[in-house]
Each structure stands twice: as C-alpha cells, then as structure tokens.
C-alpha cells in the first residue's frame, strides 16, 4: 500500500504545468474568443512536441505507454488553464481506443492529428470539425470517418472553447474497425474529465484568492473578511476530498470491476461538483466583476457545466455507485476491495 505519486509522475505534471502556464494565459483565451477559434496551432504544436499526446498511447502504436494515473495528472493541469484544445478527448480517449483496434493506423503515426469520438454516451461530438478523423459507434462496432465523409451540424455551446456537433453518417462512407471497448473509453473520459475538473476548481479558487487580496472594501482587502474566507475555504475542502478519489480511480481503472467503475463515477461526480462550487464561490467573491465577460472565471464555470453533463450525467454515475453499494460488501475493510475477492 503506497498512495503517493512517484518522481516521474510529478515531473510529468510539472512539465505540463509550465508548458500550459506559458502558452495558455488569459491573453491567449481572449485572442481566441475574439477570433472564434477553439484551437491555437502554436500551442497545440508545443503540446505535441512535449509528447503529451503520446503519454497514454501504447508503445506498439508509437506511444509512451504510460498509465491513466499519469495522464490524469496532465488532464488536471489542462483543467487549471481551461485548455481549449481537445487533449483529453483525443489523446486520453479516442487515440487509445483506435490504437486498441488498429495499432498501425497511419493517423496514430501523426502525434499532431486530433481524433474526435462520437461515443454513444454523448449526443454531441466535441471538436469534430477540426479532427483528422472521427471515431463513430454503431451497435458496438467502431467506424472511422473524416469530417468531410460525414454531415456535421454545429450545436453551439455556452462554453466558447467547446465546438459541438451532431454527426450524420453512413457506414458506406466510413472504415469499419471492428468491436471497440466503448466502456473503457467511457471510463477513461469520465476519469480524465474528473481530473480536468480538479484543475478547473483549483484555478477558480486561486483566481478568487488573488482578487480578494487586492480588492479593498471598507478600508480592508475583502479577503480579510470571514464571510469571504469561508466561501473559499469551503470550496477548498471540496477540492481536497475529490483529489484522492480521482487518484484512486486512476490507479484502479484497469481492474474494470464494479468497484473501479463506482470509483470512476465517484471521481466524476465530486470533482465536477468541486469545479462548480469553486467557480460559483469565485464569481461571488469577484462581485459584479465576477459576473462580467471581462473576468475569466466564467470560462471555468462553463467548462464545469459542460463536463458535468457530458460523459454520463450525475444521475447516471450515481446509479453506478449504487450498484457497487447494493451488490458488493461494504464497510471499513472494503475500501480497496475487488470484485474478484468477493466472487
């Protein structure tokens, strides 16, 4: 039993953090919003160059072959800068799914190519227009098509960096790949979006802390008032108790049993609740400024909202936890229990 991160994991996270801190600043977000863009080619190039798109891809598909625990740390750092590019869905979900079906697929040889995924859990496909290809689902079978082989209908999102589409397609215009592991794709997406949510949450708190130290009212910084402190402390408590759940879900996802699925669902629920709570606390602490387009907090609120309802609603994930509770032994000796132990 050792519930700590190793040096290599911490190093990866640090690399991602400094890359994102340099390349994804409020200035960048503003420029992209004005231009109506959801991808910054320069930033995406630097992400690709650093190898972040290869972390979860298996070695036989040209990747680095690390585990979900490693990619989750990167997703968390991406959340901290509300990363517009589809790193999580492409490199964390779609590319490994494709690699499991066709490790030699030429798309995987190009680490800069993004892959969108039309998972049955989601009615809307994110970033389908800019993807090199879209992974499509029909009765458990996977198909691959390029955006020009399908009909995309834009479904504008409240989040300026989410480009959503409904996709109409026909198997005649797509390449059949065989039966894909849609459940694993779903769990990975849920997990990495939870990790992304932790990053969103912490940034929302940090933005509010910075503001509360500067902003003066009644002759004092507003952060010295207990009422303001308590909003942010409560949000931080929620974050602190989502973190180990996400870490455990990342470590256990590979066991693919009822406990692991419940853990992923638990992570998805609490991390995005933390993001929502932190974003709302942050807006409150920023006052009327917080309700303005000019202050960045709304970007964090909107992404939290989007991720809460995609890849399984909270009700869906709660039901998976209920299954774990009502079909498996519970109690203090069952924290790390496995279905196989109870068979």
């Amino acid at each position: 039993m050792d519930f700590t991160l190793n040096d290599e994991q911490l190093m990866f996270a640090e690399t991602a953090r400094s890359l994102f801190a340099d390349s994804s600043t409020p200035d960048h977000w503003r420029r992209m919003m004005e231009a109506g863009e959801a991808i910054d080619p320069a930033r995406w190039a630097s992400i690709v160059e650093t190898g972040l798109t290869l972390v979860l891809l298996p070695e036989n598909a040209g990747g680095i072959g690390l585990a979900e625990s490693d990619f989750a740390l990167i997703a968390q750092e991406a959340g901290y800068v509300v990363l517009p590019e589809p790193l999580v869905e492409s490199a964390g979900v779609a590319a490994p799914t494709l690699a499991a079906l066709a490790p030699d697929h030429p798309l995987l040889a190009d680490p800069a190519a993004t892959i969108a995924i039309a998972h049955p859990a989601n009615p809307y496909v994110a970033n389908a227009d800019s993807a090199a290809a879209i992974l499509l689902h029909q009765e458990g079978e996977a198909f691959l098509a390029t955006p020009d082989q399908v009909t995309l209908t834009a479904q504008p999102s409240i989040d300026p960096f989410r480009r959503l589409f409904t996709v109409e397609w026909s198997p005649q215009n797509a390449t059949a790949l065989g039966k894909a592991d849609w459940d694993l794709a779903f769990d990975r997406a849920s997990l990495f979006n939870a990790a992304f949510g932790l990053g969103l949450a912490q940034r929302a708190v940090d933005l509010a802390v910075d503001y509360a130290k500067e902003r003066q009212q009644f002759g004092k910084p507003i952060g010295s008032y207990q009422a303001v402190k308590h909003h942010l402390a409560s949000a931080q408590v929620t974050i602190e108790f989502a973190k180990p759940v996400v870490a455990a879900a990342a470590a256990e996802i590979g066991t693919r049993d009822v406990q692991a699925r419940a853990r992923v669902s638990h992570a998805k629920i609490v991390a995005l609740e933390a993001a929502d709570k932190a974003a709302r606390a942050s807006i409150q602490v920023h006052g009327a400024m917080g309700y303005s387009w000019e202050v960045d907090v709304h970007l964090f609120l909107k992404r939290a909202l989007a991720l809460t309802q995609s890849w399984g609603t909270p009700a869906y994930h709660r039901a998976r936890i209920a299954t774990r509770i009502f079909t498996q032994p519970m109690g203090p000796d069952q924290t790390f229990a496995r279905e196989a132990d109870n068979a």
């Binding site: 952060g223 402390a233 108790f241 638990h266 109690g331 203090p332």
Partner: protein, 384 residues
C-alpha cells in the same frame, strides 16, 4: 502508487480480526459518559486490549505500544470498527496527549505516563477550554505560578471531556501577567489532587460527558510540564493538529455507519422517499472519500511529509459528513426517528443518539468557523 495491501498487511488484518472476534464483548457496554459503571467497564476493556498488546498500537514498544506504522494503524481501526468493539474511553490519551508526549516529552515523562495510559490504568481528560476561551485558546487565563520545583495552578476550566470520571487531565496554563500566545505551558494534574473540584455538566443527550474544573492552589511538580516553560502554545497547536487531522476520527467509524445506513435503506425503501437513495449513496461516497484522503495522508507521512493545515479540511469534512449521514438515517426512519433506544419500536441502531452526537462535531476540536479561517489564511494565503 499501489493500492493493494501487502501479504504482511493482509496477515496483520487477519491477526487483528481473529483477536477481536475472540475478545470483543458480546453485549454493548454502557456508554462511558453515562455512569461510573459504564466508565469502569470501558476501563476494563482497555485492560483487555492491553493484554493482547492492542492498547496504543502506533506507540513505540518501550512505552507500552506496538510500534505499528500508519497503514497498520488504519487496518487496526478498520477491524476495530468492523468488529463493533467498544468506544475508547481513553481517546484523549491515545489520540491527543499520547502523540504529543511522544513528540515533546522527556524519556522520563514518557516512561512515567505512557505505559499507564496504554494499559487503562490512568485515564485522561482534556482541560483546554475556559469560560472565556474556547476556540480562541490564547485567551486562557488559568495560571501556573512557579514555586521551587513545583507549580501552583489556579483557574477555571470548562467543557472538559471525560473529566467527571477520569484520573488525570492536561491543560494550558499561563505565567501570571503573560499575554495571549506567550508564557503558556502545558501541564498535567491529577483530578483528585487537593484543590481540584470537578462539577459535571450534562450534554444535550443527558450524559455527563463534560465537566467544569476549578483549581485552587493545586500543587504539581514541574516534572508535569510538557516541553519548555512558555512553549505551551506551540505544543498545543501540534496537539490540535493530531486532533483535527489523522488520529481523532478514523475513517472506519464512518464506513461502518455508511454500511448500516445502506442496510437501513434496503429495509425501508418500499415505504421511504425514493429521493433518499441519493443521500445514502452520498453518505457512502463521503465515507469512502474520507478513507482515501486519510490513506493518502498516511502514505505521505510515512514517506517523510509533515501534516499541515490540511488537518483543518479533515475536521470540516468528517464533521459535516457525520451530520449528513445521521440526518439521512432519520429521514429514512420517518416518525420512528425521534424514538430513544428505550422505546419498544426503536431502531436497533440508535440513530437519534448518533445524530445528536454528530451535532457536536462542528464545535469541538476548534469550531468549523475557526477551521475555515485556518484554511483561508494558511492554505490559501488570505490576509488575517
């Protein structure tokens, strides 16, 4: 990261489980705060635990402990709660004073106090608060006046848990004339010493879990001071860290409660509000999250880290989850919720008593308002 137990840890769990199954009393003991008999029955249980060498499992062997690491401690606690073993009457000694003594005490002090704490021979009460000093402990007014090799203690302590029946107490005293955090010392005194008067205060559940203590020229040797003279505030903060953080509330307590709640829901779900299932699931999630957080902290501490202000996040989380969990049980019970355990229709689990106890959580060990201030100032860096 490896979230599996080693074969040694699994063998240890089996050993604890077997011992507890053979020794845990079949009928529940009367509560230690209810009567003197209940208190003494718990003292006897502490002695039984000690006979199996399970008294203070994390302490060094030379002071009556078993020298276990924190993961083993968690496993022990899991098995302890799983077995439904009695509450620890000496929890002030085990979880608060013990770790503090081990960190700050001299070898002679450890030899004098720890083994008797571990065996249940001497049961400890805490005497932090005063009528004018609750969460703001720097407002303590009780004094310790040096007189040769002794101190003369004077003052009025209150909200002292266990003090009605316990043998010893530890409290903060200040040098006469000193102010706020300066000049304070942590001093032990026997509760039967001349000049000590203990008056019981009933809690809202009717138990005499609190006392007020009057000290009039109580003479104790300077040997009873923990740490240097005037270092009391520093030591006290370390103790509060133990209290809020790892040791006071082991996760197993809430995991057992969540399990009982799930069983209660299964038994009542035909008649109870279907929306309550979400609260049952939430209670499990909270208990599980708390356990994971503590396992993560234990792993970090074993790798050499120190516990910091995150202890305050723990205290808020467990106290709030406890209220939510017990409140959910009352909602499931409906009209049965208000019945005490004497009622013919009472639930086999005394949920109302658990709920009433849970209400104290956000108050003791430093109120949750104070914990939020600590988080805001020391974790987030907001101005005082």
């Amino acid at each position: 990261m490896d979230l599996t137990y080693t074969p040694e840890q699994q063998a240890f769990r089996a050993e604890v489980r077997a011992w507890l199954e053979a020794h845990v009393p079949s009928a529940p003991l009367e509560h230690f705060d209810a009567t003197r008999e209940g208190f003494e029955a718990h003292r006897q249980w502490e002695k039984t635990l000690k006979s199996g060498d399970w008294g203070m499992v994390t302490w060094p062997r030379e002071y009556g402990g078993r020298g276990l690491d924190l993961i083993q401690w968690l496993i022990f606690e899991e098995e302890y709660y799983r077995a439904g073993a009695p509450g620890r009457v000496n929890q002030n000694g085990i979880f608060l004073l013990g770790p503090t003594l081990i960190e700050f005490g001299t070898h002679e002090q450890k030899q004098r106090f720890l083994p008797k704490m571990a065996s249940g021979e001497e049961i400890w009460a805490q005497a932090w608060s005063e009528p004018q000093a609750g969460s703001d402990l720097a407002g303590v007014r009780a004094t310790a006046t040096r007189d040769g090799d002794d101190y003369i203690l004077n003052g009025h302590k209150i909200w002292s848990s266990r003090a009605v029946f316990a043998d010893w107490a530890f409290g903060l005293f200040r040098e006469p004339g000193s102010e706020r955090h300066k000049g304070m010392s942590l001093i032990f005194f026997p509760l039967d010493a001349p000049g000590v008067t203990v008056n019981a205060i009933k809690k809202i559940n009717g138990h005499v879990g609190f006392a007020e203590i009057f000290l009039e020229n109580v003479r104790v040797p300077a040997f009873n001071r923990l740490g240097d003279e005037g270092q009391g505030w520093h030591i006290c903060m370390a103790t509060a860290g133990f209290e809020r953080g790892l040791m006071l509330r082991s996760p197993a307590r809430y995991q057992v409660a969540a399990k009982k709640l799930a069983a209660l829901w299964q038994a009542h779900k035909e008649t109870a509000d279907p929306a309550l299932e979400a609260d049952v699931v939430r209670a499990h999630m909270n208990a599980d999250a708390y356990a994971l957080n503590i396992y993560q902290t234990a792993s970090r501490l074993m790798a050499g880290a120190k516990i910091g202000p995150e202890a305050s996040t723990n205290k808020i989380f467990w106290s709030e989850l406890d209220i939510h969990l017990t409140q959910t049980a009352l909602s499931i019970l409906g009209p049965q919720a208000e019945l005490t355990h004497e009622a013919p229709d009472a639930s086999p689990v005394d949920w109302i008593d658990d709920y009433i106890f849970a209400l104290a959580g956000p108050i003791y060990a430093g109120s949750n308002e104070i914990q939020r201030n600590i988080i805001a100032e020391r974790m987030l860096g907001l101005p005082r």
